[in-house]
Amino acid sequence: MADAFSAASIADPMIPRVARVVKRRREIADVVTLEIEGGAFDFAPGQFNMLTAFGVGEAAISVSGDPANSARLVHTIRAVGAVSRALTELHVGEPIGLRGPFGRGWPMQEAEGSDVIVVAGGLGLAPLRPALYRLFAEREKYGRILLLFGARSPADILFRDELEAWRGRLDIEVVATVDHARGDWRGNVGVVTTLLSRAQFSASNALAMLCGPEIMMRFVANALLERGVAQERVYLSMERNMKCAIGWCGHCQFGPVFICRDGPVFPYSQLRGLIAKKEI
């Protein structure tokens, strides 16, 4: 019987293919979206790729584009370290390395027939955007759809044009909030957890997808549980330092799981006992 970890099966996922940047867009001060072409890119919402800035290194970046478009891959990247900065500085026409897609994504099928609560904080909107595209494309399959989005300030709101367009739809509810704002901001100010108290949904038939700073996800998850949402129906996208992306190297180990292989999307029921432990 063939060994699942045979040399033949492990060689391919570690070798990046070469694609090209075909479009680059600056979203906010330190965040850039790259559109990439170079073959077919099938992926599930919530999955990630390992992107290579040649000569600099490799970083795990979630796919932020429409899963219906397999000809063009979209990644939204924040410049926080040497590799991510090099990726954000790539120009149209330049090569980029790509391995993936990896990981388990959002539970789109499980969400069917449910009210779907999407809570994003900061750059966390990027890994959720493919799920939102899928929800909108198959709108009839879902109950109420709520998108609650938090950012540091109005200048830090990601995908602002799209958020405004989505807010104009009559079949979804979009609420954005910022931590602080100047006087000319007419929108909501306050942490994203406070939006939940006013959100209307059926707790017994709701499924939540959360992505953002871990502390935000913890508090939102607990607030959802207080509202009566089952912990098995609250999903979080976790982030850790991923290297191999296939569960070999252990860099992204989080207690008994590997974020790259077993996640990055997990039900809160699986993480609840781990996420508040400072030793992990």
């Binding site: 900061g122 950012a151 931590d179 602080h180 704002a181 100047r182 006087g183 406070t194 953002g212 508090f219």
Partner: protein, 154 residues
């Protein structure tokens, strides 16, 4: 038909489930208030003589910074409590509250309610239990804002 202030107080979510006798006591300190967009409910350092329970509209809680001007740190909406500084001496506002749009509210005379709460500790205890949840929620929110969760480390 004009609603009585007692009925308005009773229907506000802040007073949900309150004993009818206490509703009457609170209503004796309350009146209706209306603020046009841009109008201030109160200003920093003014005496905190009234607090407000929002019925419609939104209010921006602002801090003034010489370099940045007015910075909104919280918005309040229908059903929310606006104003906590009246609870503790020296009873002065520590921020500005500005109506973002047309605001209708129940305005409560703070000194009147403090006096009635001192006279009837059962009312005082009931009020304390109603004020604690928003206080704790705002403290928690302020902690999250303070650590800047969306920063580069977030």
């Amino acid at each position: 038909m004009i609603e009585s202030i007692e009925h308005i107080v009773k229907e506000h979510r802040f007073f949900a489930g309150m004993d009818a006798g206490f509703v009457a006591l609170v209503s004796g300190c309350a009146k209706n208030a209306r603020f046009d967009p841009g109008q201030y409910l109160f200003h920093e350092s003014d005496s905190a003589d009234w607090f407000f329970l929002l019925r419609n509209g939104s209010v921006a809680i602002e801090l003034r910074d010489p370099a940045r001007g007015a910075v909104t740190v919280q918005t309040l909406h229908e059903g929310d409590l606006c104003g906590l500084s009246w609870l503790v001496p020296p009873y002065r506002w520590t921020y500005d509250a500005r109506a973002i749009d047309l605001v209708r509210a129940i305005a409560v005379d703070a000194a009147c309610l403090r006096r009635k709460s001192e006279a009837d500790p059962r009312l005082g205890y009931d009020m304390m239990k109603r004020f604690m949840p928003p206080l704790v929620e705002r403290l928690q929110a302020a902690r999250m804002q303070m650590i800047d969760i969306y920063g580069a480390h977030g």
